[in-house]
């Protein structure tokens, strides 16, 4: 209870006491006035009756003597009688008149038209003398009585009665007040005090009134009230206990919820039906970089990349038909972070019905690692598939190309037999050459296959090799060919140092330079330049080198074919055609790639190959 209420309680009590006394006084005063009025009126009647009877008495007592005295005109006697009458109480003035003329009078004649005239009563009667059976009128007697005394009496009596009544009423009022206070007032006050001191923490003390035994046999209204208040107290106590238990269980469930909410490995968002964020857990804050303040009360579109313009519409659509489901279908969903970066996420939506309407719980799982793993898996699968395809091509090619010399050998043995039988001796030598060439080809193919299969077996460690040194070594190995063809070879200075399998990398340059010399245009001396095309300038981690020649060139439709196993564009030249296959394989094993460009036939060709920049 607040102080204000306590104060008003006191005021209320005082008002009741005041009202109580006031009503008692007013009512007793009214009763007194009523009683006094009644009594006074009764007294006034009595007094008037007294005066009337006095008039009668005077008439009956004095009539005969006055008539007789008038008859004999004994004025002395008449005056005595009249004086005697005026001696009577209230009688002020007596006259005997003959016609309009007053012949005898006694007492003070009342002034005519004065204010007291209202307080006068006049009784007149005629005086007749029966003489010789004739009625002779002797005159008229007028007796005037004053009511002043009557009024004085009335006032005296009235006042006395009024005071008497008033005193009596005061005493009764006081007594009633005391009794009332004793019986009710103090108990009410105590109840008020009790009610005022009552609070939810202290509901154990029962209300007890002085002089009231709770078990008393005759229960009066107060004890009913006390019992009712005590019952109310107990009800209050038990409902308070229930409330406390409820609050406690609420608090514990809130703690549990908070614990799960905040510790969830997934980002959790609660969004109301208007699309405003109501809660966002720490995981989500960490994921997005937004603080709680920047999220709560803001539209959930804060967390959606701006290009998903249809999100709001979709959300409203979902809001109309809420169901537990995965969001986005097959679409890759991303969370918009504060720094405008995006995190790939999987989002599951659950509608939760509350008293404030349906809210939506969104669980966001960061799937960037999973996606990365998936992408790596995909990459691995792809590389595996391409390896598999390569292997298939390889076995196919190998079986085809290995079968070919067998057909030759077997065929020419048959032809040789026929030639011998037919006596075509001049053919014998060429037949035998065909056979031995086929055998040599077979040998070469097998050697090449073996060489190719060796590449990529991680038996040889990669070392730091300055490219210029490596190329110079290769050029030394090629001294014979270079000298015999008069080839000019220029190498860019300050080529980078790379980390490679040195021996294999020599083969790359050996093959490319040899090819450049081999496929030269007739009458044109081979010119070969080696240099750097792109030194990881675009940041893809690769260095691209080139080997350019001025040879016969390659048509663009053959670009892919020259790297195939045993493929040659020109059968007029030596070799099994495996050289560029080996180069390609070495480059790929080193993590790079190789391609060729040519301005067309007789315009030379440029081989580009990339290797990882390990610096």
């Amino acid at each position: 209870m607040s102080n204000e209420n306590i104060t008003s309680g006191i005021n209320h009590k005082q008002i009741i006491a005041r009202k109580f006394v006031l009503y008692l006084l007013i009512s007793s005063a009214l009763i007194s006035v009523f009683v006094v009025t009644l009594q006074t009126y009764y007294e006034y009647d009595t007094q008037l009756a007294n005066i009337e009877s006095r008039f009668d008495d005077i008439e009956s007592a004095n009539r005969e003597s006055v008539i007789n005295a008038l008859w004999i005109a004994d004025s002395q006697q008449i005056n005595i009688i009249l004086r005697g009458i005026t001696q009577l109480p209230s009688i002020k003035y007596v006259t005997i008149s003959e016609g309009p003329e007053i012949i005898y009078s006694s007492g003070n004649a009342p002034a005519l038209n004065n204010s007291e005239s209202n307080n006068l009563i006049v009784r007149s009667h005629s005086l007749y003398k029966y003489y010789q059976d004739k009625r002779i009128k002797l005159g008229e007697m007028h007796i005037t009585a004053s009511l002043d005394e009557v009024y004085e009496n009335l006032i005296t009596i009235g006042t006395k009665t009024f005071y008497h009544e008033l005193t009596q009423m005061f005493i009764i009022t006081a007594l009633i007040f005391i009794i009332f206070y004793k019986l009710v007032g103090r108990h009410l006050e105590k109840m008020a005090q009790y009610a005022r001191s009552l609070n939810l923490q202290e509901l154990d003390t029962p209300l007890e009134l002085d002089g009231y035994d709770r078990m008393q046999k005759e229960a009066d209204e107060l004890s009913h009230l006390v019992n009712a208040i005590n019952d109310m107290r107990l009800n209050l106590k038990s409902s308070n206990q229930e409330k406390n238990a409820l609050i406690q269980s609420l608090a514990s469930s809130e703690t549990k919820f908070r614990g799960v909410f905040e510790s969830s490995a997934d980002g959790v968002l609660l969004v109301n039906h208007k699309g405003m964020i109501e809660m966002a857990n720490a995981t989500l804050q960490n994921m997005s970089g937004f603080t709680e303040k920047e999220l709560i009360g803001h539209p959930v579109e804060t967390l959606v990349p701006k290009r998903f313009t249809q999100h709001e519409q979709l959300r409203q659509h979902y809001s109309n038909k809420p169901a537990r489901r995965q969001m986005g279908g097959n679409m890759v969903l991303t969370l918009r972070c504060k720094d405008e970066s995006e995190v790939p996420v999987e989002i599951s939506l659950t509608p939760v019905k509350t008293d404030d309407g349906t809210i939506f719980a969104a669980m966001l799982q960061d799937i960037s690692q999973r996606r990365q793993a998936e992408q790596e898996k995909e990459k691995l699968l792809q590389s595996l598939e391409s390896k598999n395809a390569e292997l298939e091509r390889f076995t196919y090619t190998a079986s085809h190309d290995l079968k070919s010399p067998l057909v030759t050998i077997s065929g020419f043995i048959g032809l040789l037999r026929n030639d011998i039988a037919d006596g075509h001796n001049e053919r014998i030598a060429t037949d035998l050459n065909r056979i031995s060439d086929a055998a040599k080809t077979m040998q070469q193919l097998l050697d090449d296959l073996l060489a190719l299969s060796r590449i990529g077996r991680a038996t040889v460690p990669h070392t730091k090799v300055p490219l210029n040194t490596l190329i110079n070594n290769v050029l030394e190995m090629l001294t014979g060919v270079i000298d015999s063809t008069g080839a000019r070879i220029s190498v860019e200075e300050n080529l980078p140092t790379v980390i490679v399998e040195e021996q294999r990398f020599k083969e790359v340059f050996l093959n490319l330079i040899e090819n450049g010399i081999k496929y030269h245009q007739s009458n044109v001396k081979p010119e070969i330049s080696i240099g750097i095309h792109n030194n990881n300038s675009d940041g893809n981690g690769l260095i691209t080198l080139y080997v350019r020649d001025n040879g016969i060139g390659i048509k663009s439709c053959y670009y892919h074919k020259i790297f195939g196993l045993f493929d040659r564009l020109d059968h007029g030249t030596e070799g099994s055609g495996i050289g560029l296959s080996i180069v390609k394989r070495i480059i790929e094993v080193h993590g790079g790639s190789i391609w060729v460009e040519s301005e067309g036939q007789n315009h030379g060709s440029t081989f580009y190959f990339s290797i990882p920049d390990n610096n």
Partner: protein
């Protein structure tokens, strides 16, 4: 042999073969053949198409071959590419194309027929079979078979 042999017209064969030893074997087999024949040999796919379309050094070729013997693995333009080119050309598609290769791989056979090869032959390693195949091949296409032109 009941087949009618049209005298005075030899079977014109275009042999597309990159392996010179194989080409010689085919040529020598046809030397002993029962039927008259003329073999034109080219050693890669590009030359084959140039011959058929009478381009470059073959611009003065007068007639189309009656049959093309086509190896599959060829330098420059692959045999299957040559086949596809022939069979999609309104000018050349009526020429019977017989694939003659060492490959018996399913994928090659399927691809060749997909490109409308008229026949698919695998070079036998056995010499007798080889000569027999060449003999019957010539006889079939010249004697039994009605040529498109």
């Amino acid at each position: 042999m009941n087949a009618q042999i049209k005298h005075g017209e030899a079977l014109r064969i275009l042999l597309v073969e990159d392996n010179s030893a194989h080409a010689e074997m085919v040529a020598r087999s046809f030397e002993n053949n029962r039927i008259a024949n003329v073999i034109e040999h080219v050693s890669d796919g590009e030359q084959a198409l140039n011959y058929l379309y009478r381009r470059e050094q073959y611009s003065n070729v007068k007639t189309k071959p009656h049959v093309v013997l086509l190896d599959l693995r060829l330098p420059k333009i692959d045999g299957l590419e040559v086949l596809r080119d022939i069979k999609t050309s309104s000018e050349l598609k009526s020429i019977p194309v017989v694939i003659l290769t060492t490959s018996s791989a399913d994928v090659d056979v399927a691809q060749a027929y997909d490109y409308h090869a008229n026949s698919y032959l695998v070079k036998p390693i056995d010499f007798d079979n080889f000569t027999k195949m060449m003999d019957e091949l010539g006889y079939y296409w010249l004697a039994w078979n009605h040529k498109p032109f």
